[in-house]
Each structure stands twice: as C-alpha cells, then as structure tokens.
C-alpha cells in the first residue's frame, strides 16, 4: 500500500557456503529507509560475508536479497553500487600517491547512479563529501600522509561520494580510541542526516550504543538476536556467545 511501510533492504533466508561450511546460513532481516542498524557477532560469524552478499561480491547459494522490492540477487557489484548501495572495506586500499580529493572524486566518477559524471562535477562532489567527513582541510594532501583515523574517514568519503541511499560500513572504527570513535560517530550522524540508510559492522560497543537504533547479532552464520541495542546487549545468549562476562559487567556499571 503506502511506499513508506515497504523495507528498503530485505534479506530472506540468505545463505552462502564455502566448501561444506555455511558462512551465512538462512539470514532473514529487513532494513527500513533511514534506519541505522548495527551487525555484531563473534569473529567468523559471517558478518563480512553477509556484506559481501549484499554488495554483490558473492553469489548467493540460497535465499534472496531485495532492494526497493526487487531482487538484486546475482547482480554484479558495480550494478549494485549504481542502484545506490555503497560500501567500505575493512582493509582500506586508497590510491596512495594521489591526493585525498582525487581519491574521493573516484567514488563520484565510477559509482554514480546517473550517467557518467564529468571530472569537474566529480571534484565538486568530492569537496562536498570531504567537508561532510571532516577532511576538507586535508583535501590536497597525499593520502600517504594521513593518520589511521583520517584514512578511515577517506574510506567513508569514497563510499559517500557514490551518492548511496544505503551505506554499508565494515569496521570503520577498528583501531580508533574512544575519543577518535566519538568524532567518527559524529561523521556517521552527519552522513545519516543527509538521508542515507546505514548498515554497519562493528566490534566496538560504543558505536552500537552510540548511533544504532537496532542491532542484529550473528553467530555461526545465523541471527542469534535482534532488537534495540540496550536490550540485545543484555541478552544472556549474546553475552555468552560474544560479549563475555567482563564486558557485561562494564555495561551494567
């Protein structure tokens, strides 16, 4: 009926196997337009594999992924990107000899939903995006001079420059201290405020509690728990499988 109630992203029984192992095993969930959802879970639970399924890097072995109501299963990664699904990678691979601005412009040139952009327009988008992520002052710097937090920002900038409707973030806070994380959270809030839906993977609970409206816990490729972060992080099964007792105590205090 109304378009508002239809989920933007819909996963139904998504399955991905490697050899005999089901890395993602019948995962079903929905993401509404404008939501911020966090995916957490033990190392090896299938989080990155799931992101790779959504962004088209992996072909599904079962189930279906739908975007605005239409199946995107089996679609090539560049076509998924052009639909408006942008992503970052855990290991950042910027073009080291190019400037920050040039790196951001690449996202605008090649990930665009519209017909090919002209370089001038791509640089305009790059400037806009660098302002948004807080890298404008370093636009002319070679990437090789950036600190780790700034490299993470650039990774987000490149993805945002593709003008996504949905942004998939894979551990962009790893290796940051709490204060650096808080600054990065501000960046994510700003990106979200421009109307972008966010689905992010993190091991840092400060992030999940700080910005996510909903958390999905994966364990052995399956959804172990789902709900508001406050509730999910107090779930005994989640503490057992993922958080551990010490963290659970830290959370309570």
């Amino acid at each position: 009926m109304s378009a508002e109630t239809k989920p933007q992203l819909e996963l139904r029984q998504v399955t991905k196997r490697f050899g005999g192992v089901a890395a993602v095993d019948g995962v079903t969930f929905e993401v509404a337009k404008g939501d911020i959802v966090g995916i957490i879970g033990p190392n090896g639970a299938g989080k990155t594999t799931l992101l790779n399924c959504i962004s088209g890097l992996y072909r599904l072995d079962g189930g279906d992924i739908r975007w605005d109501g239409a199946s995107i299963s089996g679609m090539a990664p560049h076509r998924v990107a052009r639909l408006g699904i942008g992503r970052t990678f855990q290991i950042v691979r910027p073009f080291g000899s190019m400037t920050v601005r040039e790196n951001a412009a690449i996202g605008a040139l090649f990930g665009s939903a519209e017909a090919r952009r002209k370089p001038k327009e791509a640089f305009e988008i790059a400037d806009e995006v660098l302002e948004l992520v807080g890298l404008a002052a370093k636009a002319g710097h070679p990437v090789s001079t950036l600190t780790i937090p700034d490299r993470k920002r650039l990774e987000v900038a490149r993805a945002v420059a593709t003008k996504p409707h949905l942004l998939l973030l894979d551990e962009v806070m790893a290796g940051l201290n709490n204060v650096e994380i808080d600054q990065a959270l501000d960046m994510i809030r700003k990106v979200h405020a421009t109307g972008v839906t966010v689905l992010l993977i993190e091991h840092v609970m400060r992030v999940i509690i700080g910005v996510c409206r909903r958390a999905i816990v994966l364990d052995f490729g399956q959804v172990l728990a789902e709900g508001e972060p406050d509730v999910v992080l107090r779930d005994e099964r989640v503490i057992q499988a993922y958080l551990g007792e010490r963290y659970a105590k830290r959370l309570k205090s």
Binding site: N43, T147, P149, N177, V179, E180, M205, A241, Y242
Partner: protein, 242 residues
C-alpha cells in the same frame, strides 16, 4: 651491582629520538620496563607508539638516545640480534604467513634458536592456546581473527623472549575474545615474561597493566602506576572519552 632494592630494569630507554623521511616522530622518550612487568603504552593514533616498538625491536633506526637491555647498550642493534637477546615483537595486524600452516608460523618464531627445547616451548604455547591444538596443519590465513592473534602471540613466545611487545591485541576482535587473550597475556606475564601492551582500547590495557605510559605527539605525556593513569582527569577526557 644489582641488589633486591634497586633491580636493574630489563629495558631502559633514555632520550630516544627517531623518525622517518617525512619528519621526526619520537622526541626524547624515557621509559623503563622492570623484569616481569606488564606495561601499557597508550596514546592517540599518530602519537608514535608503533614507531617506538619498531625502534625497540630494531626495525626503525634510533636517531639519538640510548636503549639498554639488562644493563647492556643495544641501541641500533639489528633486529635478529635483539631477538636473540630476548626482545620479541607481535606486530599490529598479526602479519602471519597466511598460506603457511599454523605450526610453521609458530616455528618461525624460533627461527634463530638452535637449542633442543623448541618443542617444549611449542607445548607451552599450545597449553596457553588450546584452541590451536587441532589447527596446527591448517593454513594460518583460514583461521578466525582471534585465532590468528593467538598464532601471532604464540610465534612471539616461540622466541622465548624476556620482553614481549604486542601491538594492538584487540584490533578487530570480539569483546569476549579480547578478554580471553588478555587473560592469557597475563598468565604469560606471571610466568616471568615482561610485556609491553600497545592498545587503542585504553581501558583494557590499563586494567591489565602494572604501569602505563601515555604517548602524545612523540613524547611521554604521563607515566605511572596503571591505576593512577586510569584516574587521571586528562586521560579520562582525552583517551577514555569519559
């Protein structure tokens, strides 16, 4: 010489400076690690923590200052010589040989040793990390992040170090896995190995350590017992975000 009241520190660093082509990174670092101490080294990204570990393990040249190991000057000694003398480095991001077996990765830590106790130390590593026992023939790159970190720490232990330096133990690992690894690291420490723990999860490091050094723009901004550093208002604001 040495006596009980003032033991010779295992590691003594005085006025250490170092840098790269792009410019200096460390400006006159003073640092001491007592035998069997557990020292946390914390600070923002870019403060110079990994560079300091690099200098201590002979990977980055010192431009000035002095490093002593058990009283002997080892400034700018080569990495292999420092490993022989008991300094092992577990680098950030684990840096395993992904297509080699777990067992070979562990044995590489003992590459310079010619003694007959290498197998005993392998047993010791597996006692600390029982999860690796049935994974010895597996390619290291196929292990989970937590298991790979176990291999990286185990590889460091295989050098039978007096000082083990671990760079970002918690990077990309689930909270429960971090807790487990910290517990094992404390066991290793209790068995007599001194440790330097570089961490972004400052709370984890300060809870585990005896002493802490806070690095800021290439200088030691603060040092002392870990409990005091944890309660320092500046540290709480700048690193813990409290």
């Amino acid at each position: 010489m040495q006596n009980a009241s003032s033991p010779e520190p295992l590691l003594k660093v005085r006025g250490l400076t170092a840098g790269f082509d792009a410019g200096p990174v460390l400006f006159g670092i003073d640092l001491e690690v007592e035998p069997a101490a557990l020292v946390a080294l914390v600070g923002a990204n870019g403060a110079g923590k990994s560079t300091l570990l690099g200098v201590l393990s002979g990977l980055v040249p010192a431009a000035g200052g002095k490093i002593s190991l058990a009283g002997a000057d080892v400034t700018n000694e080569r990495a292999e010589s420092l490993v022989r003398k008991g300094v092992a480095h577990v680098p950030q991001g684990r840096r395993l040989f992904g297509t080699m077996s777990v067992e070979k990765n562990l044995l590489l830590g003992a590459y310079l040793r010619r003694d007959r106790e290498i197998r005993d130390d392998m047993t010791r590593v597996l006692d600390h990390f029982p999860a690796l026992k049935d994974k010895l023939p597996r390619e290291a790159g196929t292990l989970s992040g937590g298991e790979q970190q176990m291999v990286a720490i185990g590889r460091g232990m295989m050098a039978r170090p007096k000082l083990l330096m671990i760079d970002e133990l918690s990077l990309g690992l689930a909270p429960k896995v971090v807790d487990h690894l910290i517990e094992v690291v404390r066991e290793i420490n209790r068995e007599g190995t001194a440790l330097i723990l570089v961490e972004q999860d400052v709370l984890v490091a300060l809870d585990a350590a005896d002493r802490a050094y806070v690095l800021q723009n290439g200088k030691v901004a603060l040092s002392g017992p870990a409990g005091e550093v944890k309660n320092d208002p500046g540290v709480r604001k700048a690193y813990l975000g409290l």
